[in-house]
């Protein structure tokens, strides 16, 4: 029916009332990243927590350097180091309760270890003897996700499922600045917001997606600002300030647990090492830039705070470092042992029950292995 056919005279009426569905103001991040260390807020910080963070940071840094060394010795296929980002890695793991879930990306081995996964099992993917070394359900830690941002909808679905079951569980999902350009980042934040799922998204903005700087990744005022479009709060934090990252994440976890819905946290940090051991960072950034960030080192920042407040002394620092050396030596020793491999395992976990076709292929491989062993036996 056209307007012309309408019976009687057309009476204009005002359009149905419109108003914003959410007030955007409280969702906006602060203009400056949240900082605690070196500010008056540091006085409020729990000394025990600061000490705990420090111990984990020292261990974390040592873990990163040890794992990188293991790549050079051929004991790891690859290692994406989180050197310079330890504050984010450590805080993300420490803010969670046992029943909560962590969803790491491939650069987050340190968060996985801090959560309590065995340091060797945490490196399984990167050693290459399997794709994941731990039981995700036992630790409430999802496998390292290599395809960027694809783990974020998993975190949302898991958190939603927990709520459907009436469980008091929060999921914390980790992603990098490059990952925020992926479609799954958008879909995960949107689903989380619509469902008010108890999820915390932690974006570690370390400046680069391999070689591509943030300026080529986004034109957003900040990555935290992206939250506003979904109707969830965005929080900006100094990613090298362990106390600040811990505080912001802890608040976001509390909010999610209390039914307040998801939060997007952008931690501004810097990837001190190259993308991986296989990358050459000198092709896309200057030494001056790296040096500038070394001056804002997460470990040094916290150590200074603890020293100035008399919460640790030289002997205390030495003890923590020695402890980290012991951890590294033990890791070295264990990683220098060849993993035990059973090629026939390749067929065991594709389905609950191997298909007849897989059984057939398994038998073929078994025969090949047997022939190989017999040849070796004959050669001896």
């Amino acid at each position: 029916m056209t307007v012309m056919e309408q019976r009687g005279a057309y009476r204009p009426s005002p359009p149905p009332a419109w108003q914003p569905r959410t007030d955007p103001a409280p969702l906006l991040p602060d203009p400056e990243p949240c900082r605690v260390l070196g500010t008056p807020a540091a006085a409020q910080a729990d000394p025990e927590l600061l000490h705990r963070l420090y111990v984990k940071l020292v261990h974390g840094r040592r873990y990163n350097t040890q794992a990188t060394a293991l790549t050079k010795q051929g004991r790891l296929a690859v290692y994406p180091s989180s050197t310079g980002q330890e504050a984010c890695e450590v805080a993300a793991a420490l803010v969670l309760a046992d029943r909560d879930w962590l969803f790491p990306s491939y650069r987050d081995t340190l968060a996985v270890v801090t959560r309590g996964v065995d340091p060797v099992e945490a490196l399984t993917l990167l050693r290459g003897d399997w794709h994941t070394g731990w039981d995700p359900c036992a630790h409430r830690v999802a496998p390292l996700s290599t395809p960027l941002s694809t783990q974020l909808p998993h975190a949302v679905g898991l958190a939603h499922a927990a709520r459907l079951k009436g469980d008091d569980v929060v999921a914390l999902a980790m992603v990098g600045d490059g990952g925020t350009s992926e479609g799954d980042f958008h879909e995960a934040l949107n689903f989380a917001a619509v469902w008010q799922a108890p999820v915390v998204f932690l974006v570690q903005n370390n400046g680069f997606a391999i070689s591509v700087p943030l300026s080529k990744q986004t034109a957003a005022p900040s990555l935290a600002h992206k939250a506003v479009g979904y109707g969830i709060p965005g929080r900006l934090v100094d990613g090298n300030d362990a106390a600040a990252v811990h505080e912001v994440l802890r608040d976001a976890v509390r909010r999610a647990r209390a039914g307040g819905g998801p939060t997007l946290v952008e931690a501004v940090t810097y990837r001190i090492d190259a993308h991986t051991n296989a990358d050459d960072a000198t092709r896309y950034r200057t030494d001056d830039e790296v040096e500038a960030w070394r001056g804002h080192d997460p470990l040094q920042l916290l150590e200074r705070e603890l020293t100035e407040r008399g919460l640790i002394d030289e002997a205390g620092i030495a003890a923590v470092r020695e402890d980290a050396e012991t951890m590294a030596a033990r890791l070295r020793e264990r990683m220098n042992q060849d993993p035990v491999l059973d090629p026939l395992d390749l067929f065991e976990h594709v389905y609950a029950e191997p298909t007849p076709q897989l059984r057939e292929q398994q038998r073929m491989l078994q025969a090949e292995l047997q022939a190989e062993a017999e040849e070796e036996g004959a050669a001896r």
Binding site: T150, G157, L158, H160
Partner: protein, 334 residues
């Protein structure tokens, strides 16, 4: 002998009943997708389920297929049994990364500690006059992705039985629903549904001695019609309904081909890189000395799915199937 009241039911009704029974039997079953709640799905397969079980058990999601499947992965990780609806075959492509990188790999990645018991329902295939993106046969993509079961029913009873089996499976199942069969009817007793068949078994729908038509999903009724028409030509055709593309039932298929000595694979999917190539190869590898003629394929053309006014030329029909049967080197026999 007790008589059971067999009432005509549609394929769609059997699917709805399967979902309803699964929701009633197992509190971990949850249905999610676009329009599956209040509307009951664009094909009405989830009709009435949100009203009966609540919108926490059967719920609408934002319009984003990767998000739907990705969140379903997370739900399965927490021990739920999600059943996802993708609205149309070609609308499932945005979810492909979640499917290939996570759904198919999670069990393997975690050495069996993190299985994903989830069902992905996808209406597929043509013949309904759909415009572009509404008629794809996407099964070859899923078949080529290890870690997925790929199942497709062709009868009303199987619509129920195979969907119940898919939801009960501890592995992810891509459940392909031939959309042009949604309104097909058959006598079926919903109060005493077919017992769930063991997963992965094909079934002989029509016995015959001359040649075997190997088919599945939307092409089964076409093959049965072709087999009837073939009687006039003096051919007695056997028809095998695969039901499961992964795992593949070599045993049933090869037993049939060994009996008949001739085989034609029939499907809507294109022939190049399509399921028929794999099936023909498997049959040839296993039944070479029983074969009187090469295994032939009657498939969709290797073209993007045609516009609705031209689709009848694309879809394998009775005549094209009979032409293929005629080329099975009968003269060599005399």
């Amino acid at each position: 002998m007790t008589t059971v009241a067999l009432k005509p039911a549609t394929f769609a009704q059997a699917l709805t009943r399967a979902l309803r029974d699964a929701l009633a039997d197992d509190p971990s079953v949850h249905i999610l997708g676009e329009d599956v709640g209040t509307l009951g799905g664009v094909f009405r397969i989830t009709d009435g389920l949100a009203a009966e079980f609540g919108d926490h058990r059967c719920f609408d999601t934002p319009l984003a297929e990767a998000g739907i499947l990705g969140t379903a992965v997370g739900m399965a990780m927490y021990g739920l049994r999600p059943v996802v609806e993708m609205q149309f075959d070609a609308f499932a492509y945005p979810a492909f990364e979640q499917l290939a990188s996570h759904v198919a790999k999670m069990r393997n990645r975690t050495r069996g500690t993190m299985p994903l018991p989830l069902t992905i329902r996808i209406p597929y295939g043509g013949g309904i006059g759909g415009v572009e993106h509404h008629s794809d046969s996407s099964e070859a993509y899923y078949m080529a992705t290890p870690g997925l079961h790929v199942v497709t029913p062709a009868t009303v009873a199987d619509a129920y039985g195979l969907l119940r089996a898919a939801i009960a499976s501890d592995d992810p199942v891509v459940f392909l629903e031939p959309k042009r069969l949604y309104w097909s009817k058959d006598s079926w007793n919903p109060d005493d549904p077919t017992p769930v068949e063991p997963a992965g078994r094909a079934v002989v729908r029509r016995t015959g001695r001359s040649a075997t038509l190997i088919t599945y999903g939307p092409s089964l009724p076409v093959c049965l019609e072709a087999a009837e028409a073939a009687r006039e030509e003096g051919w007695d055709l056997e028809v095998v309904d695969l039901r499961s593309l992964v795992p593949f039932d070599d045993e049933t298929v090869c037993a049939s081909v060994r009996r008949t000595g001739r085989a034609v694979v029939v499907h809507e999917s294109g022939s190049f890189g399509g399921p028929g190539g794999e099936i023909a190869a498997r049959v040839t590898e296993r039944c070479f000395h029983y074969l009187e003629a090469p295994v032939l394929r009657v498939a969709g053309f290797d073209i993007p799915y045609p516009p609705p006014m031209l689709e009848r030329h694309h879809l394998p029909g009775v005549d094209r199937i009979l032409d293929a049967v005629a080329r099975l080197q009968w003269e060599a026999e005399s």
